[in-house]
């Protein structure tokens, strides 16, 4: 059972002291989001409007995609369509080759991450530099983003300092974020100067304007887009909105939900290429037509990738993004993942308490907990079952169905010696490498709740 969320999170939870720290770092974002929410009159109406706009757009997606393409082409953009990840990689490599580009500066794009663009381009001999600071950090460490908005949220500044020392020769032990960011700025400036082409993701595609919108705080997307002669924007086809009026709703929601800022520092609208520049938009499917075809799950395509569901999720916060073995982690990632492999991702919808906190923060009101619950039912039917879980479930169901068996099981349990329950024989207990106990089975109370309640009722 390697590679499941439960196994992958074990290291993070027991092998490091990061759990509480990570939990607090994410909650900090959630708390900032709440402050922003309170500055908006009618926040809930804003959310329901956003959900309705996305549903409308999806219900006319074929027309909007065509309108978008027509207008973008009129504006001088070149539009390509990619059926899957492979086609996105190939189109990108071809554009680069046709324009004699060898090196690329890339701004944040979970889509290209999903499509494995970087490893492919590198294998084809291109040099790729991620320019978002968080993404650059994980790229230098040969890791993947652990969060879709804050890719290096799983790392402490000391770890960043060590990586920079090793790769960029910064002062050993200097972990000041100001210092590290300024060194990265200088290094990236050189990469921007050197590169032949720029690649970006897309936050919104505006059908009626034929424009793509990219939101960043660093300005890194623009540094590439406005200084290179070859520019490529990779856009998932669910990113469309009809027009500017609708875009307004989303620019109000995105940054507030994501990081608790009133808006991202830069909201860039690319409509027409600069003179002598070729600018491309690649519209990408990669299984989105499957999600679209499923009436229950189509609402997952409303997602604007703000990350709020991750920031609030008690499981994500304590287990870290790398425990989810899928590009997009957290609640929305676990809803999407089975579309990319039911068998290999069947554990992910179970990596949730179904508490519903994600539903409450999602700016486009996706019923995340409901969809995770639905996957659990479907996947139990549609994938192979895990034997120990199956036996456990059967035994459990027999015990729970009978009052007598339940009482008996409870009292038998109470007789198991504490030493045995808290020993290494019980897989629930985890020992840290230094011998300390990481997770210990709690002591079993002497009486059941039923017994306690009865006694207290009699006493009062």
């Amino acid at each position: 059972m390697k590679g499941t969320h439960a196994n992958l999170s074990k290291d993070f939870i027991t092998g490091s002291d990061k759990t509480d720290w990570h939990n607090n770092a994410l909650w900090f974002l959630r708390a900032k989001r709440d402050i922003q929410r309170d500055t908006i009159e009618d926040w809930e109406k804003l959310r329901s409007t956003a959900a309705a706009i996305k549903d409308h757009t999806l219900s006319r997606l074929p027309e909007y995609l065509q309108t978008f393409e027509e207008n973008a082409v009129k504006n001088g953009m070149q539009v390509h369509w990619a059926w899957d990840d492979k086609e996105l990689r190939e189109i990108t490599a071809k554009i680069l080759k046709d324009n004699n580009a060898r090196s690329v500066v890339k701004s944040k794009s979970m889509l290209t991450e999903e499509c494995g663009l970087n490893p492919y381009l590198e294998q084809e001999g291109f040099e790729v530099v991620d320019t978002d600071l968080g993404e650059r950090i994980v790229q230098l460490r040969k890791e993947h983003p652990s969060h879709i908005v804050v890719p290096a949220i799983h790392l402490k500044k000391e770890e960043v300092s060590d990586t920079f020392h090793e790769k960029m020769n910064t002062e050993k032990g200097n972990a000041s974020p100001d210092y590290l960011a300024s060194v990265a700025r200088e290094a990236l400036r050189k990469d921007f100067m050197k590169a032949d082409a720029a690649i970006t993701g897309v936050n919104f595609g505006v059908a009626e304007a034929g424009a793509v919108v990219v939101c960043t705080n660093e300005g890194n997307a623009d540094m590439g887009v406005h200084s290179k002669k070859t520019v490529i924007h990779c856009m998932g086809m669910e990113k469309l909105v009809p027009g500017y009026d609708e875009l307004a709703v989303f620019t109000r929601l995105l940054a507030r939900s994501a990081t608790g800022q009133p808006v991202t520092v830069f909201t860039s609208h690319y409509r027409k290429p600069r003179p002598e520049t070729t600018e491309h938009i690649i519209i990408v499917n990669n299984k989105r037509t499957d999600i679209f075809a499923d009436p229950e799950f189509r609402q997952a395509m409303r997602c604007i990738r703000c990350g709020a569901c991750m920031n609030t999720c008690p499981v994500y916060r304590r287990s870290g993004g790398h425990s989810y073995h899928h590009t997009v982690p957290g609640p929305i990632g676990s809803v999407l993942a089975p579309f990319y492999g039911k068998e290999k991702n069947k554990d992910l919808p179970f990596a949730s308490t179904l508490c519903g906190s994600c539903n409450n923060v999602c700016p486009v009101k996706i019923d995340l907990a409901g969809l995770l619950y639905r996957w659990r039912q479907k996947l139990t039917d549609e994938t192979s079952s895990d034997m120990s879980k199956k036996i456990g479930m059967e035994v459990g169901s027999k015990i729970l169905k009978s009052r007598k068996k339940y009482d008996l099981a409870g009292s038998v349990f109470r007789w198991v010696p504490k030493g045995l329950l808290q020993s290494g024989l019980n897989p629930w207990n985890v020992h840290l490498p230094d011998g300390r106990k990481g997770r210990v089975f709690p002591e079993v109370p002497k009486e059941s709740f039923r017994q306690w309640y009865k006694k207290n009722q009699e006493d009062s």
Binding site: S59, L188, N217, G219, H226, M237, R252, F266, N285
Partner: protein, 192 residues
């Protein structure tokens, strides 16, 4: 069948009934736009100066502390000529130390400033200089992004359009805010 047709036909097969385009009814009466704008801008680290038409130049001079100023604002170009050259964008000698431009309007709820090719003259100028000054007429302020995009829809179409809401920043290292991640390290707005 090429991928475009394949995507469109897969979608068309299952798309179902179109849903109506929703009414967006989220505008409320907002007063004290200037106060809100200043509060939000300062909270995100932007310096805001109040000036009058006559004192704009003086405010620019004081804040710039004698750096190499270049401007795309027609009325200021004589005084601060633009020597930046898009063809050699990283050439140090041509890069402004301080770039002065004027936004066509500002948004109170998030302190965003709307800039297009028209105001910037070179797109990169919104990103490459270390210090930027944006002039903004107080009477152009709108309450929210709803009114902002109404304005944009009414203006002649842009090639590149930007909402800028502060200096470049990052919090990618342990959530610690660092100003000047890639673009400008400092932003000042002169409201007049």
């Amino acid at each position: 069948m090429d991928s475009k047709e394949r995507i469109l036909s897969s979608l068309k097969n299952v798309v179902g009934e179109p849903l109506p385009r929703p009414e967006i009814n989220l505008q409320y009466k907002t007063e004290a736009l200037t106060e809100i704008f200043i509060g939000v801008a300062e909270a995100s680290g932007t310096e805001v100066f109040l000036a009058t038409g006559d004192t704009v130049a003086e405010t620019i001079e004081t804040w710039s502390k004698g750096g190499n100023i270049q401007s795309s604002v027609p009325a200021l170009q004589k005084k601060y000529p633009l020597v930046f050259d898009e063809q050699v964008p990283f050439e140090k000698d041509k890069m402004p130390g301080i770039f002065v431009t004027e936004a066509s309007f500002g948004v109170a709820e998030n302190a965003a400033l709307w800039l297009t090719d028209h105001e910037l003259s070179s797109r990169l100028l919104a990103f490459i200089p270390e210090r930027i000054i944006v002039l903004l007429k107080a009477d152009t302020l709108v309450p929210t992004m709803h009114e902002a995009y109404e304005n944009i829809g009414a203006e002649p179409p842009f090639g590149f359009g930007l909402f800028m809401a502060g200096a470049s920043k990052t919090a990618d290292i342990e959530q610690t805010l660092v100003k000047g991640a890639q673009g400008a390290k400092e932003l000042a707005v002169i409201l007049y």
